[in-house]
Symmetry: C2
Subunit: 148 residues, 2 copies
DNA sequence: TTACGTGCAAATAATTTGCAGTCCC
DNA sequence: GGGACTGCAAATTATTTGCACGTAA
């Protein structure tokens, strides 16, 4: 999976020690809560997580973390490039632990977000941005519904 | 403005009378507020509108409409296919009066949404949906930032 | 020590809802 | 008249913020 980019090495299926190293690398103090959340996020491969989901996992695991800290941590991780924000519906924000170029399936009813392997979607003939602007990223969301 | 001709006839650049006809066609009663909002929405070509924007326009035009009715109307119009929901950031929802297939530019800083003409983006090699699901729509959002 | 982190509770922001009163057919 | 529609205010939901206290370097 992510065994390529230097920055991504320790991020997938990493050990507890890797989380510590990861935090050090991005310049965030390895606090109890960041270590725990880092493990939940990066300890089991690619995931799509909302603040609520992560909060639930922490609670269930009896790791005391406040919801505010969940939000702080998700945003800090995003700012240093460990996570990627994904917007699909108007309400919740999803955070994707896969920071490589790829797009998403979204099952409307189930609020289920799914990676589309990079290369499975080709966006061709990219329109050039209006004058004075440059493209930062292109997001593709393929919306799904259950077959009848 | 436009005095068009086809299926979308009354939908783009329409006159007051056209809004009435449009409402009748989709089975919504032509109330004072729906006529007014319909005119704001469809009276001047393609637009991207939030509830807040539309509310502001109505207020400025001294058309008495409550915010709740703005939301109701936007959703009703969407449900009958007159509008299309566009999700770009986690917060506001945009409604697009252009219901044809097309994608969007989004200038992050400015909260400015812009149509990309259909055909200007080609999504090739569409991934087939997971078993039991079918694709309802594919959204492409090209995110922009001001050049330095 | 000391700046960075965290928790809590209160504050926002966008949107929804309940319901009494109003309007169209 | 009767159901569809509207307005208001209160309720929800997701997220943010202010600030006293805790903790890694």
């Amino acid at each position: 999976m992510l065994q390529s980019m230097t920055a991504a090495v320790e991020l997938t299926g990493c050990t507890w020690h890797d989380v510590k190293a990861m935090l050090h690398r991005v310049g965030l103090r390895p606090t109890r809560q960041r270590l725990a959340l880092g493990w939940f996020l990066f300890g089991k491969g690619d995931r799509h997580v909302t603040a609520e989901i992560l909060f639930g996992e922490a609670s269930r695991a009896k790791v005391p973390v406040s919801l505010a800290t969940i939000y702080n941590t998700l945003h800090q991780f995003t700012d240093v490039g460990l996570l990627r924000r994904v917007v699909v519906d108007g309400s919740k924000i999803y955070f994707d632990t896969n920071i490589n170029t790829h797009h998403h399936f979204f099952a409307e009813g189930e609020n289920e977000l799914l990676d589309i392997a990079d290369g499975d979607v080709l966006v061709g003939n990219m329109p050039k941005p209006p004058d004075g602007y440059e493209t930062t990223r292109t997001d593709v969301i393929v919306r799904l519904k259950r077959k009848t």
